[in-house]
């Protein structure tokens, strides 16, 4: 272990850290948005929900690595050339949207039928019902799955290395290849993931506990 190497690599890591934060924030926000929309379309069986269902199957059942390869190395042949960072975000939204819609759908389906019936009984429209009854309750139920997905998606950003985005994994592999200090760089890599993910993971268990108690009342 050499402190000097760690110090020297610090600026690179800080840059990589912010880049990852940026990409995952945009990507996850987009995924949440796609997820909410997709979940509602399926929940209400709005026309086109079959297309959404196929999208979910495709996105969930193929690796992000291949999705990125396909967009980054495959698509240019057809004339569509998307820069690396945009490719990364598209990939994350595409993959994450499917996982998020699952989380939200699970939440929506956990809302008791009686709630919807009483909403209808007081004359709420479908939109009002969603806005005031179904979504607020369903969101709470979907929180554990949502948080788990966030952790999963942040971890997935390590795959961006294959399209040459200088995020943390890429930087690490690069520095290892140049300076051959594998121990130091892997340590930095793991800790820069831990900085974000450990608080998230603790938060996840916390809401899971809260929801369990809220649910069963003991």
């Amino acid at each position: 272990m050499s402190w000097a190497y760690i110090q020297q690599a610090m600026p690179d890591y800080i840059k990589a850290f912010w880049l990852r934060l940026k990409l995952s924030t945009i990507g996850i926000a987009g995924a949440v948005l796609v997820g909410i929309v997709a979940a509602f379309i399926i929940y209400y069986k709005i026309p086109g929900h079959r297309i959404i269902l196929s999208y979910i199957e495709i996105a969930r059942n193929t690796p992000l690595l291949i999705q990125l390869f396909f967009i980054y190395y495959g698509l240019p042949i057809t004339g569509i050339k998307i820069p690396a960072q945009q490719t990364a975000i598209i990939g994350l939204v595409f993959l994450g949207g499917a996982y998020m819609s699952d989380a939200f759908l699970g939440g929506l389906r956990a809302v008791p039928k009686i709630q919807i019936e009483s909403g209808r009984a007081i004359g709420l429209s479908t939109f009002q019902l969603s806005r005031f009854v179904v979504f607020p309750q369903g969101f709470i139920f979907s929180l554990p799955a949502l948080a788990a997905n966030v952790i999963f998606l942040i971890k997935e950003t390590s795959i961006f290395t294959v399209i040459a985005i200088p995020e943390i994994t890429n930087t690490t592999l690069d520095l290892i290849g140049q300076n051959y200090r594998t121990n130091e760089y892997l340590l930095m890599m793991v800790s820069s993931y831990a900085v974000i993910l450990i608080p998230l993971s603790v938060f996840l268990s916390w809401i899971e506990r809260r929801i369990r108690y809220a649910n069963f009342g003991n």
Binding site: Y73, P76, G177, Y180
Partner: protein, 279 residues
Amino acid sequence: MNKIRKIILLLSATIVISVIGSQLLTVKAEASQNGRSVKQIKKAGEIKIAVFGDLKPYGWVDKNGKRQGYDIELAKQIAKDLGVKVKYVQVNANARVDALNSGKVDLALANFTVTPEREKVIDFAKPYMKVSIGVASKKTNLITKVSQLDGKNLIVNKGTTAETYFTKNYTKANLLKFDSKTQQFAALKDGRADAITDDNSYLFAWVKSHSDYQVGIKKLGTQSYVSPGIQKGNKSLLTWTNSEINRLNQSNFFEKDYNKTLAPFFGDDVKSSDITITK
């Protein structure tokens, strides 16, 4: 009915467990801190060699799944002279040092350029190839001077001497760093960058099959040498490999290797003496 199901379940469980068992029980503790000696390799009957799988014409895999190339020919010859079989371990450039030092391979024959930094962490045997850094770009937008790369996107492969050169000596280009050769050339073709830098020898080979590209900068920095990489402190294998390379030089092995594997891929601007080392 129930019994049959139970038997099937039990049977499949047994199969799975035995597969796992055989996988896990073959844990080998043979690798010492300094790697396997020649004697140990001979005893094991197999030498593990790190090679590239996507670097035509040095180390690549043909359509029949057979490994081909300049490095592969050398690997075969070494195994033959040791009287053992070869087990190829396909690596990327940035994994070569770790593959050696963690004992995953005995020898790295993967276009491994000798550099002072690398010599600190691994040992190199005698060189078998000459190389320098080159830069290739589109003919329509040819880069002939390093200064033309200011602020431009330049593709490098992680863990190569070209990357080190552009990180340490010339920092004005914007580097796109890829893990594998496949990815870097694909990115170049997609027009993701203005140029690519790597060892000049395979840039020459690559432009030959991609006629709209040209190696605009043929030589950057100093002449370097490519050597077999060996785990630090493995004296036994180092000594053996050094004398092996001497022997092969005397028998003109490298020139034959060049003619067989490289010549068909190079243009006229490369001669055998540009690549091989006669002495």
